[in-house]
């Protein structure tokens, strides 16, 4: 495998892995929670690193997932006091946890490869440098294996709990009355989101994980009303965005993940404008037609 192929493979794996849980986040109106989680997992990584002193320890992922859950829990905790609305609760909790992480890093981890820049910005081009070596044989970049594992985990989770996820996403009350626990599923989903974000952030950076998680699902949302189609379309869109974004970034010699995010925005805008039944043009057309019908109806009423 040459590096160019490896990078594209990683990009596709990352974007598909992000697009799948993203669908449920968008449907549940939790898009901004991804923004919060992708920032705060940094705290989990830092604390786990202080404990293990090893940047490759699997405990880092555990720490990140725990802080992801902590973020969601704290946000809901202060939202439940009814003193703050949901937006403000998110906006209070995540900068706080994120600030603690930054202070810890600048004070105590200045000389480690854990600088905030690499966490926030990421660099896909560096991903192939980190090789997985099994029994002395180089079997390819580590990111391919970790992202593939996360993707399989996600597919298993979604496959196994598809009905429950569908029900709790669209009608949490009904789900609860039928005996499912929306809360448990909610936190399971959020831990998976954190794990996916940790797997992805080194390659694409915290903030762009949000583009990968929200972009394709929102675009797919404008194309279909069916959950299964939405999952398929957003995974496909994620993959296509990555490949186009990669080619463009090579051409202009710029940040790969950044370019994929830009392409994600562009495909959204194209779908937003041209989508049949849910697009901008269709809507304008529909409004015009309605006005005409209304006008006709009014005229005929007056005349008769």
């Amino acid at each position: 495998m040459n590096p160019v192929f490896e990078i594209q493979l990683i990009a596709v794996l990352v974007s598909v892995a992000c697009a799948l849980p993203g669908v449920f986040l968008v449907i549940r109106g939790m898009a901004m929670m991804t923004d919060a989680i992708t920032h705060t997992i940094l705290l989990g990584i830092v604390v786990a690193f202080f404990i293990t002193q090893d940047l490759n320890s699997p405990l880092l992922i555990v720490g990140a997932a725990l802080v992801g859950i902590l973020t969601v829990w704290l946000t809901e905790l202060i939202h439940q006091t009814k003193l703050l609305d949901k937006d403000a609760s998110i906006g209070i909790i995540f900068p706080l946890l994120f600030s603690i992480a930054i202070i810890l890093i600048t004070r105590y981890a200045g000389d480690v490869h854990l600088d905030t820049d690499s966490v926030l910005l990421g660099e896909l081009a560096f991903a192939p440098f980190d090789r997985l070596i099994l029994f002395g044989i180089d079997v390819g970049p580590q990111a391919i294996y970790s992202m593939a594992a996360i993707l399989i985990l996600l597919l298993l989770f979604i496959g196994f709990f598809y009905k429950e996820l569908k029900l709790t996403s669209f009608d949490a009350l009904l789900a609860a009355s039928l005996g499912f626990s929306p809360v448990l599923l909610h936190y399971a989903l959020m831990s998976l989101v954190s794990v996916t974000a940790v797997g992805a952030f080194e390659a694409v950076g915290s903030i762009l994980v949000v583009a990968f998680m929200v972009g394709p699902p929102v675009s797919a949302y404008l194309l279909t009303n069916r959950l299964s189609y939405m999952l398929g379309i957003s995974a496909a869109l994620g993959a296509v965005n990555s490949l186009i974004g990669f080619q463009l970034s090579m051409y202009f010699d710029v940040s790969i993940a950044g370019m994929i995010a830009v392409v994600t925005g562009l495909t959204f805008i194209v779908i937003f404008i041209f989508s049949p039944k849910k697009g901008f043009i269709y809507e304008l057309h529909r409004k015009k037609r309605q006005k005409k019908i209304l006008k006709k109806a009014l005229e005929s009423n007056h005349l008769s």
Partner: protein
């Protein structure tokens, strides 16, 4: 004592403290309206969206002068705000999805432009990435003077449109029905928000600016039900956080200013949520207990 003497004698320190306090004050005032209108996280989007504007302004002018960069930030911040509004108005996409998408995509564009600049031969380019985290120590007297002037203009605008803003914060549909130009008022308020965020980019950076906007306002909201008191309190909270945060971070070598300010704001929010009279959690607990006692004693009397 070192900090105190610096407060009186160290010139650079005074400039930074003054800058942070102006920033905190303005964020408190403008943030109050954002929080009441349930648009707290718009600040997060706008501050991320400023990055491509900063880069583009640099590419077009190859000038690193603060005003030019911030003008770019202002334009792209407004563009992002407008895009979010258009997406929400003309499709089934919800506000938070549109917000998250716009935030991340604009930031991605910023990164693309940043890497493009870094690979260009222009030697003048270093330091643009400082906007992501901000660095208060780079504040110059000139910057603070501009912040001061812009701040006064902002406050005058807020006072001049006080009634309109108040109406829009509490009863949007009523404001529309009595014929207020709601669209323009919205845009004016959005513009003021973007201006404050852009001013904060240099000192606290993209990521922490949103907390400066939300925190003081949310804390102030707990202490009062009057808009005017809330705005004044938020201004004081913001100002105090700016000053204390800067002081603490100057105590040690390795304490970043932005995050320290955020910690101070968060403490003020926590104290307000817990202890504010009539709304605070502890107040409510005490009241509940009193009520129970009264009820119990009444039961006894009755029985």
């Amino acid at each position: 004592m070192d900090v105190l003497s610096a407060l009186f004698f160290d010139y650079t320190f005074q400039v930074v403290v003054f800058g942070s306090s102006i920033l905190g004050l303005l964020s408190g005032v403008i943030g109050s309206f954002a929080v009441l209108r349930k648009q707290s996280l718009l600040g997060d989007a706008v501050s991320h969206a400023a990055l491509p504007g900063i880069c583009l302004a640099f590419i077009l002018t190859s000038n690193k002068q603060m005003e030019i960069l911030l003008l770019g930030a202002l334009i792209s911040g407004l563009l992002a705000t407008w895009l979010i509004m258009v997406i929400v108005k003309h499709s089934k996409v919800k506000f938070d999805s549109a917000l998250a998408l716009t935030t991340a995509v604009f930031f991605g564009l910023g990164l693309v432009l940043l890497t493009f600049i870094q690979k260009s031969p222009n030697s003048n380019q270093a330091g643009l990435e400082k906007f992501i985290f901000g660095q208060s120590s780079t504040l110059l007297e000139r910057d603070v003077r501009i912040m001061f002037l812009v701040g006064i203009v902002l406050l005058i605008v807020v006072i001049a449109f006080w009634k309109e803003f108040k109406l829009m914060a509490f009863d949007h549909s009523f404001a529309t029905s009595i014929g207020l130009p709601v669209y323009w008022m919205n845009s004016l308020l959005a513009t003021l928000t973007v201006i404050v965020i852009v001013m904060g980019l240099q000192s606290v950076g993209v990521i922490l600016m949103s907390s400066l906007l939300i925190g003081p306002a949310v804390a102030a909201r707990q202490w009062t039900n009057h808009l005017s008191i809330m705005v004044v309190l938020a201004a004081i909270f913001g100002c105090v956080s700016g000053i204390i945060g800067t002081m603490i971070s100057s105590l040690g070598q390795q304490i970043p200013t932005g995050p320290t300010i955020v910690l101070i704001i968060s403490s003020i929010v926590l104290i307000s949520i817990l202890f504010a009279p009539s709304r605070g959690i502890i107040w409510k607990l005490i009241k509940n207990m009193q009520r129970k006692k009264e009820f119990a004693s009444q039961l006894k009397k009755g029985g």
